[in-house]
Each structure stands twice: as structure tokens, then as C-alpha cells.
């Protein structure tokens, strides 16, 4: 059984646009980043693990529609005032989309967010599980 899971390209260009706009104006910049994901495929479900540091569960939005899984997490900037010494990473929202090539029982999708890690369980519907086709002998 094979899974086709592709990342939607739109996010990449979005990211580049963000970088570009940052070059122009500094202050009001609130970028969107692509979070890192691990995807595991078991016998009857897909499990996705995503790093979403700084996202609270109430600020996380997961949608599944037409095989399109979209994850968006809002992140609030922590630093309030003070003088920056150095900034090695950018703070911004997280957004990512996946196209799921398999039939998923969307009713049964479950999501958990612990310590900034999202765990998504996508149970596959029965009909995509490998089925043995009986060959009748004449």
C-alpha cells in the first residue's frame, strides 16, 4: 500500500514572500513558518507529529476537507520590550498543508497538543485496507 502525501506548494511561496517583505519593512513583520512534521503509516491509521512550539491548543486550527489537511497555529511574540541581543530564529505563525492520498475516516480524526507537539491520528477507512481478492476456479 502506498501513500501519496504531498506538501502543498503554496506555503513555500508564502514563506518566500514573507522573507521578501521582511527585507522591506522591519517592525510590523509577522511571518508564517512551515512546521516540521513526521508522518508514520501503520496498518490502519496515519499518525502525524508536528513541532508547533509556542502554540496553545485554543490557537490551533486543524482542518480536513477534500483530502486536504491544513494545520494553522497562531503564535504570539514573547519578547515584550527590552533590548535585543541576538535573534537566531524568527517567531511567527505556523501553517502547513498536506494532500492525503488515502481514504480517511474524517469523523474519527483526533488531535492532541502536548509541549508544543501536535499528534494527529488519521484513521483509514476500511475499504483502503489491503483486501485479498478471491480467485474463483472454474
Amino acid at each position: 500500500m502506498s501513500t501519496t502525501m504531498t506538501t502543498t506548494k503554496r506555503n513555500d511561496s508564502q514563506y518566500k514572500n514573507d522573507l521578501r517583505s521582511h527585507a522591506g519593512n522591519g517592525k510590523s513583520f509577522h511571518p508564517t513558518f512551515q512546521p516540521r512534521f513526521d508522518i508514520w503509516e501503520g496498518d490502519d491509521e496515519l499518525i502525524l507529529y508536528g513541532d508547533l512550539p509556542g502554540v496553545k491548543s485554543e490557537d490551533l486550527n486543524v482542518q480536513f476537507e477534500n483530502r486536504q489537511l491544513t494545520i494553522h497555529g497562531k503564535v504570539e511574540r514573547h519578547q515584550d520590550g527590552g533590548e535585543t541581543w541576538f535573534c537566531e530564529y524568527g517567531v511567527g505563525d505556523f501553517q502547513r498543508s498536506f494532500t492525503i492520498g488515502e481514504a480517511i475516516n474524517s469523523e474519527a480524526i483526533s488531535a492532541e497538543l502536548h509541549d508544543g507537539v501536535l499528534t494527529l491520528h488519521l484513521p483509514q477507512t476500511d475499504r483502503v485496507k489491503p483486501r485479498r481478492i478471491e480467485v474463483k476456479a472454474k
Binding site: M5, H78, Q79, G90, D115
Partner: protein
């Protein structure tokens, strides 16, 4: 002879890499945390009383981390373990696992006993109080 030719494309690549590093979202960052001295990426700032360090450490519990200050060196150590799953296959693995250790030299004196750390939603926030000696002091000007 050591000749350095100016190569505009190299310059661009370097700039690109700088940008990736700056934003901490480099596409070709190593997938393993082990041995990467610059993990985690840190943001640091200060106000009059404290120094602050912040790092993204999703999937870590405070017990998985060791944070200490010795002689103005801040050390952050930790380990993240991969989930244990039976059978199945990994379709995609972008997140890193393993040990990391990062040491930061602090150019000003801090009160090591007053250092506090908080881990919330996978973001580590360390507060490092400055010693009285380095705090900016307001000098009163007497009107005569």
C-alpha cells in the same frame, strides 16, 4: 598563491545561508540533533534587571532539560526521544531526535543563584538576573 576570485553566485549562496540561519528555518538543517552545537537556536534580550534567553524545544518536558550557569556560561542540555511505534513505515521524518548541548558565553555578570527557567508549550524561557554591579544605576543630580 592564494587568490580569491570574486564570485557573485557564491556571494548569493552565502547570503541565502545567512538568511536561513537568521530566521532559523534553514531548509537543509540537519535532521538529527546530535552533535549540533548551535541547537537550539536562541533569542536573547535584556532589560535593566535581567537577561532573557528563549528557545523552541517542542516535545521536551522540563525533566528532559538541564540548565545551569557556571562562571557566566549558560549551558542548556537535553534529549528528545522518538515515539515508539510498532511496525508501520515512516513516510516523512523532518523532526530531530537525540541529545543536544549548547553553551553560551554571557558577557555580563549574572546572579547564578537567581536564574529561573520556565517551559511552556514547547518554548523555554530563561531569566538571568543581573548582578547589582552591572545594573544601570540612576545617579541623582542634586539641585543647588
Amino acid at each position: 598563491m592564494l587568490a580569491t576570485r570574486w564570485e557573485p553566485w557564491n556571494e548569493l549562496t552565502r547570503l541565502n545561508r545567512e538568511m536561513d540561519r537568521m530566521f532559523g528555518r534553514g531548509g537543509n538543517r540537519r535532521s538529527s540533533l546530535a552533535g549540533v552545537g548551535s541547537f537550539p537556536a536562541l533569542n536573547m534580550w535584556e532589560d535593566e534587571a535581567n537577561l532573557y534567553a528563549e528557545a523552541e524545544l517542542p516535545g521536551f518536558a522540563i525533566d528532559d532539560l538541564e540548565i545551569y550557569v557556571v562562571d557566566n556560561q549558560l549551558t542548556i542540555k537535553g534529549e528528545r526521544r522518538p515515539p515508539e511505534l510498532e511496525g508501520g513505515v515512516w513516510q516523512r521524518q523532518e523532526r530531530g531526535y537525540g541529545n543536544f548541548s549548547r553553551v553560551i558565553e554571557l558577557p555580563i555578570e549574572i546572579r547564578a543563584e537567581g536564574v529561573s527557567a520556565e517551559l511552556k508549550n514547547g518554548v523555554l524561557h530563561v531569566t538571568l538576573p543581573k548582578t547589582e554591579a552591572v545594573k544601570p544605576r540612576r545617579i541623582e543630580v542634586k539641585v543647588t
